[in-house]
């Protein structure tokens, strides 16, 4: 077991936790970094019924089949990224979460053609929540963020400002962030872009008042 304190998140040097200590007030947007998630990229033919069933048995839910939807339970979330591509995400920050998730997938898919690749270290997650979260994200992304178009549970790969990102809108707001009003988006971004994107979000969100939350 490697020492967890040696890990540095992409935004660790910004001291966000210290900033998040203050009161949130009437901010229109609340932002935080949710780092160190275990994420595995899965490439698998969805027509491989046997493999799909094996995954369902292993994880307790079926991989989402419809474009830009998610599925999952409290342990693991699956995001549809493409016709034969998913992300499986373990929200906790445990250092071995990613490798363990990959092992679980490889075990379940033993004997099938699939590519299981850990990518969690290459991303961080910026949580953007609050009553003006949709308006803020709409500024930098050409997708439609209206509640009728970007529905609870939806996910999508697109751009935000000049960074490639994956959006995930939580189906259950209260579960995602206790006490938060409004939608809760997780924005996954390559860690090299994280500081740029955070600065962009703070700048674009200034008119709504951005609260940094712990």
């Amino acid at each position: 077991m490697v020492e967890a304190y040696l890990r540095q998140s992409a935004l660790a040097h910004l001291g966000l936790e210290g900033r998040g200590a203050g009161a949130r007030g009437a901010a229109g947007v609340a932002m935080s970094e949710r780092p160190h998630r275990g994420i595995v990229n899965l490439r698998l033919d969805p027509g491989n019924a046997e493999a799909m069933a094996a995954l369902k048995a292993a994880f307790g839910f079926a991989l989402p089949a419809a474009a830009n939807t998610s599925a999952g339970n409290t342990d693991t979330i699956a995001l549809w990224l493409g016709p034969d591509e998913w992300w499986l995400v373990v929200p906790g920050p445990e250092p071995e979460a990613g490798p363990a998730l990959a092992e679980k997938l490889r075990a379940a898919l033993s004997g099938h053609f699939a590519a299981v690749t850990e990518v969690g270290e290459s991303r961080t997650c910026i949580r953007v929540a609050g009553p003006r979260a949709r308006a803020l994200l709409q500024k930098g992304c050409p997708l439609d963020f209206h509640p009728r178009a970007f529905v609870a549970g939806a996910c999508a790969q697109s751009i935000l400002a000049k960074a490639a990102v994956t959006f995930h809108l939580f189906a259950d707001e209260s579960a995602a962030q206790a006490g938060a009003e409004g939608p809760v988006f997780d924005v996954y971004v390559a860690r090299s872009f994280a500081e740029y994107l955070w600065a962009w979000l703070e700048d674009a969100g200034a008119e709504y008042d951005v609260a940094v939350v712990a």
Binding site: V2, R7, N41, Q138, P142, F193, D203
Partner: protein, 1011 residues
Amino acid sequence: MTQRFRLPEGGLIDRAKPLGFRFDGTRYQGYAGDSLASALLANGVHLVGRSFKYHRPRGIFSAGAEEPNALVQLGAGARSDANMRATQVDLVDGLTAASQNCWPSLGFDLGAINNQLSRFLPAGFYYKTFMWPAALWMRYEWVIRHAAGMGKVPDARDPDHYDKTYAHCDVLVAGAGPAGLAAALAASETGARVILAEQDGELGGALLGLDETIDGAPARDWVAAARAELEARESVTILTRTTVYGYFDHNFLGLLERVTDHLAEKPARLPRHRLWKLRAKQVVLATGAIERPLVFSDNDRPGIMLAGACQAYVNRYAVKPGSKAVVFTNNDGAYGAALDLAAAGIEIAAIVDLRPDPEGPATERAEAAGLPVLAGHAIIGTRGDQRVDQVRIARISADGASIVGGAGEGAAQTIDCDLVAVSGGWSPTVHLFSQSRGKIRFDAELGCFLPGDAAQATHLAGACNGAFGLASCLQTGFEAGAQAAKAAGLKPGKRRRKIQKAPEASDDGFLPARWTWLVPSDRPLGQGGKHFVDLQNDVTAADLKLALREGYRSVEHVKRYTTTGMGTDQGKTGNVNAIAIIAETQGRPIPEVGVTTFRPPYTAVTFGAFAGRDIEDLLDATRRTPIHAWHQRNGAVFEDVGQWKRPWYYPKASESMHDAVNREVKAVRSSLGVVDATTLGKIDIQGKDAAEFLNRMYTNAWSKLEVGKCRYGLMLGEDGMVMDDGVTARLGEHHYLMTTTTGNAAPVFGHLEEFLQTEWPELEVRLTSVTEQFATVSLAGPNARRLLAELTQDIELSANALPHMGLARGRVAGIPARVFRVSFTGEMSFEINVRASYGLALWQAVMTAGEKYDITPYGTEAMHVLRAEKGFIIVGQETDGSVTPLDLGMDWILSKNKDFIGKRSLTRPDMLKPDRKQLVGLLTEDPAEVLPEGAQLVETVLAKPPMVMVGHVSSSYHSPNLERSFALAMIKGGRGKMGQRVFAPLQGGKTLACTITGPVFLDPEGERLRG
């Protein structure tokens, strides 16, 4: 300052909120709700600018976006905008504005001499005069531009900030007049997501300036009720002070929202302007119509205004634009204006009507009210220096081409006045429709261009589609809104209300009218008076006729030659008159002449809005490695490599770049260096056909690479040119990790995916980008192994266990790692890959343990020197997309036993020519001279260019190890010219002599990296 021309009551202004402002330094007062134009008129200020070419005095002409004259410089210093239409500027407390295009003052302008010289300044004057000599054009241009002038640019950078956003809706309604409001009501009735965009600060459009009733109550009440209803609907967004400035492909529209311009106190958190990039499923254009002037002699003096504008100033702003008015019209509509002016206490001296037998609903009301009408008459001239004070009037002939009684003063009568209200009919605002590539057609009865077939998902409502009566506006608005919602896929019904039926209102248009496009005078055209067609660019009817006489036929050419319609107002008032006069002169029907192109923007958009927040630090994304903070703290100077910030070198206290790079290079060769190699592209490749895939993508063979070993690969494009290179490791039976150059990571990934998906979908191979999954810390130097041994217990580092191009797994500094023994420096080198979040911890552990070896972090510059000493190429530096492996002397990496991408191209005759540029080394005869990269090389030096060039320098450095300069170069047939001299003639006259050598300068046997 008293507002002498403010009516005692009425209007939509707030008399409880007086606002102070300055125009040309003089203090005035207006009210909240005023535009700058209405506030100036309330104070009796008509003269507001000088015209572009002749510097003639000009006044406020309109009350809206079409304003050609009243363009002012707004604000001062850094917050200054030129060419702002006073008619659309909301008055705010403390506003300052200045007239443009005059010197030394508005009242006394030296440039007005141009008016006296106008006989010598015909259309095309500049083209004709300043064509020759061409070399002097730059000087002419400066003088001309200085003399013409269109306001001043701000004298400092813009202190405001701007916002941009994407947006989506089911139905966009452009314009919130009666038609637009009705459309928004009907569309949102279905629950559709509606955006209603209005350029004005208030909803209501033309109703704001008219005294109309709807359902028996004042029209403004209906507007207020409609607004309340719309605001109550959750799916409706109302954007005021928002101009739909462009209608592009696929129902993509540009909107400019002016967020804070109208606020005296501007909240710092709000952007000044917001640019909306809107994708609308359906669009309803309810953009209204613009009144046209009449083209008569000297029709440009201050006090000559559009009739509907006069009406708006009276009704909306409670301002009297004059005391004694002459109304000049060719249609019934202006009679309504005359009645409103009379009701406001303005004396109507005469209604001069081109129509011989005036008729129509408003005409009848005016006649009943006893207003004096001169039927079949025309204004044939005006007088007045800084404001119109008299008009001359004569009866015109039945064909409208001349005045009755012929030339001479006798035929005319004069009327004193200080206001001329003009109406030449109405032009539907088809700009957005035309921008969307919709067809425009001429309607002879209405005397205007109307929308024809739509090219996109566009619906039309109200006056912009020729429905000029109020009832028709409401009716077509409701219909268009409902249609648009239906077309957007929404079902009517659930919330159906009575409001779906249009309310009761009058339905008077402006017909009947008489189309006399060029009003005759008692003098020949162009002599003794000017018939202005384009007020902003000072284009007259005589100019148009001159252009036609000189042989210009197409309306597009006449436009460019005369500049009609090319001002900032884009000819909103003048274009139809210009086209009609061209048609009349050519004896062709108007549809045959056609229209000039309507281009975005409808009105000007601030550059700041397009830039938005994409400025300064946010101009582009910057990418940082997990170790970036350490580099920063330790004084690294960064180099941009694509979007990455990479340490270039790490200067100590007083070191120059040269000193720092020398120190770093020496440290690697003598003891130990460390570089952050995280940015190298990494692609994870899995599947049973992975080796076959690599065989096809790389020039060399991969089938026999053992698990746990690495191999250098070269990738070509289909043209046989070098595309990328890098080391690929075999991690498992069907598992490889490819590295790419930093800048090429994304293109290479795309290249691989393209072939996998489109050419060989049968291969069982899947790719995943893992560039950022790992942080890479690369140790290089004679002490690299010693240091690594101290940091790991479970990796065997001996030359046998981990040879050059070997791979090991274990822990380094307690962190799970992969260690690749690969080298880009020619030294023994270990690339340690750990999960990205441990990158900084690993780097710090290496730095601490490495102190005893004087471990030296080195940047990209030192790395480049080190690899060049070894003759290692950099893709993109030695190569430029036209270099083959053969040119680089890399025949050894081209497999003869298999096919690969680019292979066939390499056998083209041109690829085998002996005089292709080939990679060689280059040593200057003076070892202290460092050749500039990019320098061209010649074999024979001439006194001056051109000289025959035989190649160029691709990489060039000083080497502390060689204790001299050295370079890599691409030279024609270079490998056959070893030992020969070439010369680099440099800018400034210096020529450096060099000798061609092999490209490897250090350790050609590779002893250092194997050890």
